[in-house]
Symmetry: C2
């Protein structure tokens, strides 16, 4: 019997309890021991809830309970999750978390404690919801040198972009509908400005490099400026607009960024639509691989937490190695990267755009007062300078990823 | 130091040596101990090969060498691979294999020996080449009840179907070109008749059910009868033709089959083209997930073998559980399954086809002497009977998967 405690009885936490109970036969069989939820920590009471008698309000009950060997931290935020996690690991209890904020902020420290105490800190659910991308990197692609990871890591923005694409609607309109349906939060900033994806690509980048990639240093651009007009041109060019968290090993360090990109139909993430997530990995022996599934939601996220619980139960007293040191990774300067750009400009500014970016490709759509243009590949800093000089003659620019 | 022996210095075996040597820094770091290739078993000599001095011709040298703790079996075929594998496991040496034939024939027995001897029998490379689908099922989706697995599991046939689609060419013509390029073997039967995919879906089905699904009992249909004309209609309907290995848990047992299917553009495997493989998994908490990458080739396959080597090195003296019992799984009768069918028939037989399959949907292409038709959903046995009765009025039928 392995006792499990759940910290935070919100969406993910209640999902964890549901998965452990509903799939208990397979979960326990795979863990090698009967798993059961012993305590649920929450400030609130849950009268009438089938598990109300498991709810406690004092973390020390969990910390001091020797039956509890695995703790699921599904509270979110850094405080008090950090203190609870640290205390648990120091006691030799394994912790499984869905908390990307905490992992991105304190991953290396918490992993080092787990290693020292022969327990585990696992965070499959912190990136890509139910997609097993963390375990794939840590335990499956172990023969590979990973060269790059590109992910659609945020379901809310992917839903919004998919709707804008399919319905020709503008950002604000689709956001409002997404909020109505519960796909976007009332304060959508963390999603639409790319902050959520930024935490996630920081975690993936750290696992890719083995060093610490600080999310604060990752260039992050959201989707709020993308309009229905941009999609008109994307579609005319047979392309999609997606917001990527991207990280590549380059000669000059790790090139990490979050931004919208225009991609063609043969790009493996092109078909990742609606609330789905997808992660594309390039590595030196396998080449390209891709992982796709529900990147958010109660049960998919809870399933990832419980998958970690099973792995922790199989490894009680044994630390499963994770390579993520505290040493800071060197980040490459994104302004030095060469790529093509999509530019949408006023129709009357065509000569100026062609002069600024010669040799590119026009996208002609009859009867419009704007026009679309794909530049040749050029360095980001050179592009940015020339684009800025065009002032209000241009409406938008989106990076192109091939 | 963990010594590794490689059985069979062919394409995959030499790839295994290459991956262990070329990525030795990361591979050894992740294994927790220095990995090195001690012996290579092959009947041939390899004069001039950088590893020629490691080549031995007697398996007993490997079996009796206490430095060798992990053996990579990349020989293929059942004999003598089975004897070597069994002898190694009985000695407590872990075995990592790319040999689907052996795994499909003797998986449960070899897994039971590994369990008894506290070592491991791992076979990531036997299905999906470098795609970590086996580890995903065994070690990642452990909180899930898997309900179905559908895979594009054979790179050769996917390449052929992709070319037929893109170039409008006929099967024989594309096969000849594929043979020229080395994408198809001179005797292509195992691929084009679906036998290779059948072994692979048998392995995946066994892991899904936890029981033994015998490949001999899986209905298997190849792609040799598909013509350029069928693709004309598939494309007109916005669909693709793929050969799937498919397995679903149903009330009446495991529904397993290998056959060509017509799928629409929103099916997650639609974008899996050329020599790539993709595996689509449906499970009860996560819902749909998909795994995509190179399903064959020297280095991708070798990478999967070496990933297993790392996992074995991390678990020396410890059996990582795999749920695949010798007990035979009950297979469902495919003739009871309901689905829609694409039918291509002689133009003058339209009235007969409509009479046999009322209420379906026609695909009209002007100026042709055949026509395409999608039936309503109906049981396979009912469809088969009516289709047979149409005799030479019909050219082809392809199952439709949604």
């Amino acid at each position: 019997m392995v006792g499990v405690a759940v910290l935070g009885y919100g969406t993910v936490g209640s999902g964890v309890v549901e998965v452990i109970e509903q799939n208990n036969d397979v979960v326990s069989a795979r863990a090698g021991e009967k798993l059961y939820v012993k305590h649920i920590l929450d400030l609130r009471e849950f009268p009438g809830d089938p598990y109300e008698n498991k709810v406690v309000h004092d973390f020390n009950i969990i910390l001091e309970d020797e039956d509890v060997q695995i703790i699921c931290e599904t509270m979110g935020g850094v405080k008090p999750a950090y203190d609870f996690t640290k205390a648990a690991l120091l006691k030799g209890k394994s912790v499984c978390t869905s908390n990307k904020e905490l992992v991105a902020n304190h991953g290396p420290e918490l992993l080092a404690i787990a290693k020292e105490k022969n327990c585990n800190y696992m965070f499959e659910a912190s990136v890509g919801g139910g997609i097993p991308i963390i375990r794939t990197i840590n335990n499956a692609l172990t023969a590979e040198k990973i060269e790059g990871i590109t992910g659609i890591l945020n379901g809310t923005t992917n839903y919004i972009l998919t709707k804008m694409d399919k319905e020709g609607a503008d950002f604000a309109e689709v956001l409002a509908k997404a909020q109505e349906l519960g796909y976007a939060e009332r304060n959508p900033e963390a999603d639409v400005e790319g902050y959520d994806a930024c935490r996630k690509i920081a975690i993936l980048s750290s696992l890719m490099t083995g060093k610490n990639v600080k999310y604060e240093n990752i260039y992050t651009e959201g989707i709020t400026k993308i309009t229905a007009d941009d999609f008109v041109y994307a579609k005319a060019a047979g392309m999609a607009v997606k917001i990527f968290g991207m990280s590549k090993n380059t000669e000059n360090g790790t090139l990490a960024m979050v931004a919208p990109f225009m991609i063609s139909a043969d790009y493996p993430l092109y078909m990742v639509n609606d609330v789905f997530n997808g992660v594309f990995v390039r590595s030196n022996m396998l080449g390209d691989s891709m992982y796709y599934g529900r990147g958010a939601g109660k049960l998919p996220t809870a399933s990832a937490v419980v998958g970690d619980v099973v792995e922790c139960a199989r490894n009680l007293g044994n630390n499963v190695p994770v390579f993520w040191d505290a040493e800071e990774a060197k980040l490459a300067d994104i302004s030095e990267v060469s790529r093509s750009y999509f530019v949408r400009a006023k129709a009357e500014a065509k000569a100026d755009v062609l002069a600024a970016f010669p040799g590119g490709e026009e996208v002609v759509i009859e009867g419009r007062n704007d026009f679309g243009y794909f530049t040749l590949e050029m360095k980001e800093k050179d592009f940015a300078e020339k684009y800025a000089a065009l002032g209000d003659k241009v409406f938008m620019r989106i990076r192109v990823e091939k």
